[in-house]
Symmetry: C2
Subunit: 318 residues, 2 copies
């Protein structure tokens, strides 16, 4: 099944042998002392997408979410494997054609290729393992933030949670805004070029999948520092505010599925980064600063107050 529907996805560089043998054979980029970057993510019906989503959308979301991990590392995506578990009723030509078309479109845009796969019969679930490359030593981890580094985010936040509210039938939804939001949900934009630009500039980076506060807490814990965020500096799109004025900040702080980057920059490099923004090269905003942690406990402070985690970002469908 993998061979018949997905063979066209293996055409990128570096694939000496793609699908159809016991394993694929891959060439890393030549003449570079590169490191391999590997991430894996599984999407399950009802948890990561609603059951009415079509196969084209599901495939795009699955691949984009995995590409976003590469962006957060500053890595260049190259190859991926797919493990697809599928109920018998979906193992049809239209479903599989839609799925492979969605996958192919994203793979083509980001120049990565499918190099291995397995399909089994079962509840709908999509597991992707993504392989990328970085020049040795230049990957951006969660653990490099220092006291005094400034905190930035790419784009605007809250889109993911707002889209979720539209999908789940928020009464206030407006159709025009919804279209953009649904696209953001099913086709998040992996910030690959953005991440590559942050190599040797950002001290730490993470992609916002669980929500700004939750993901910033990961950075705090890995780096051993605390974070102060000025909530009025958190960028939120107008349509998200329109959708729910009262709830938009909460969406931006605690909602998941934004797949923007949150990163920290040492003070002496902020002028460079702000310049990228001023020149219209990158859409980014400074939202706070890292600080040494009191009592040795790394924490996120919003406008100076400790966050009581409300366990956001775990909204389930269905």
């Amino acid at each position: 099944m993998i061979e018949s529907y997905f063979k066209g996805l293996t055409a990128q560089d570096g694939v000496l042998l793609g699908i159809g043998d016991d394993a694929a054979i891959l060439n890393l980029l030549p003449d570079l002392n590169n490191q391999l970057v590997v991430a894996t993510d599984t999407l399950v019906e009802h948890i990561h997408f609603p059951s009415h989503a079509d196969s084209y959308q599901i495939a795009q979301r699955a691949l984009c979410v995995n590409l976003s991990d590469m962006a957060a590392m500053g890595a260049n995506p190259r190859w991926f494997t797919l493990s697809l578990s599928l109920p018998r009723k979906l193992a049809t030509n239209p479903w599989l054609k839609g799925f492979s078309a969605g996958l192919a479109e994203v793979a083509d845009e980001f120049k990565c290729s499918l190099v291995g796969g397995d399909t089994t019969s079962g509840a709908l679930s999509i597991s992707i393992t993504m392989l990328g490359e970085v020049p040795s030593g230049s990957a951006i981890t969660r653990g490099g933030a220092n006291d005094g580094d400034f905190i930035y985010v790419s784009g605007a936040l809250g889109d993911g949670a707002a889209a979720l509210s539209v999908i789940q039938g928020n009464k206030n939804n407006k159709s025009i805004e919804s279209e953009r939001l649904l696209k953001r949900f099913y086709r998040p934009e992996p910030k690959i070029e953005f991440g590559i630009k942050l190599r040797d500039v950002a001290s730490a980076c993470i992609d916002i999948s669980d929500g700004l506060v939750a993901d910033l807490e990961h950075v705090c814990r890995s780096s051993g520092v605390s974070a102060y965020v000025s909530t009025r500096d958190v960028p939120i799109n107008d349509d998200v505010k329109t959708l729910c004025e009262a709830g938009s900040l909460e969406w931006a702080l605690f909602g998941g599925d934004d797949y923007q980057l949150c990163f920290t920059v040492p003070e002496h490099l902020c002028e460079l980064v702000d310049g990228w923004s001023a020149d219209g090269l990158l859409d980014l905003k400074q939202i706070g600063r890292m600080t040494s942690c009191k009592d040795g406990v790394p924490q996120v402070f919003l406008d100076g107050s400790i966050v009581i985690q409300e366990n956001r970002g775990f909204d389930h469908f269905g």
Copy 2:
């Protein structure tokens, strides 16, 4: 969950950053112009193991099956990612401890490490993506067999099917033989060292997962040649014959789950390969020869007769 139960599995060489960030960072072996070898395999309850199997056994089988793909390529296994889907009732300390212990034991023996993982709630299914290395150009594919090459297998065949019959309650089973067979089923021995030795010697290689005939057909199709197998030369263990004298040859030819290697060797290298066997270095046996295919259709012949495929190797549990 991945972090708490599986952190101990990331300790091998080449892992600059293991579990706990957006992605792992890996160093390929230095000073070698190596290629990356990638394979992925999913195991599902009822299909690939019975529902009464314990978590320690399931984990070992899942990792061994994936390692076997590396063996078939002549590759050196290095790293793997795990996607574990688990029903809520199994997300317990004993189940997870057993699973991680089984995984750790095999990972340790084959010096490969877990570098990424994801757990989701759902029907029990284990997806592993395995990464390995080969010196550039030395991977053994299915597609290199030529007219006149001799066909070999490692070890003995039929163990997998015999074990299946024991697990499914074959009336004739003897307890002493069963113990060895069950071990072979849950803990197949990936032929890693064997595969490495076959680099630059075997013209094609595959691991026997679907059954000798089915897998040899893959080699035939990929290489564009036919295969003649002499069935009396196919090695079968005595306990398999004892279990079912009448059915043992069928098990050896059509049964799956043996995870032995089937490989082809050019005539001028057969003396070398036979020498390994005579010296007791490797357990292998010549079972036939490749030949040009009549009418352009690559086929497997058993004692000169065309095989009518009976779709063996798809026995399901439960």
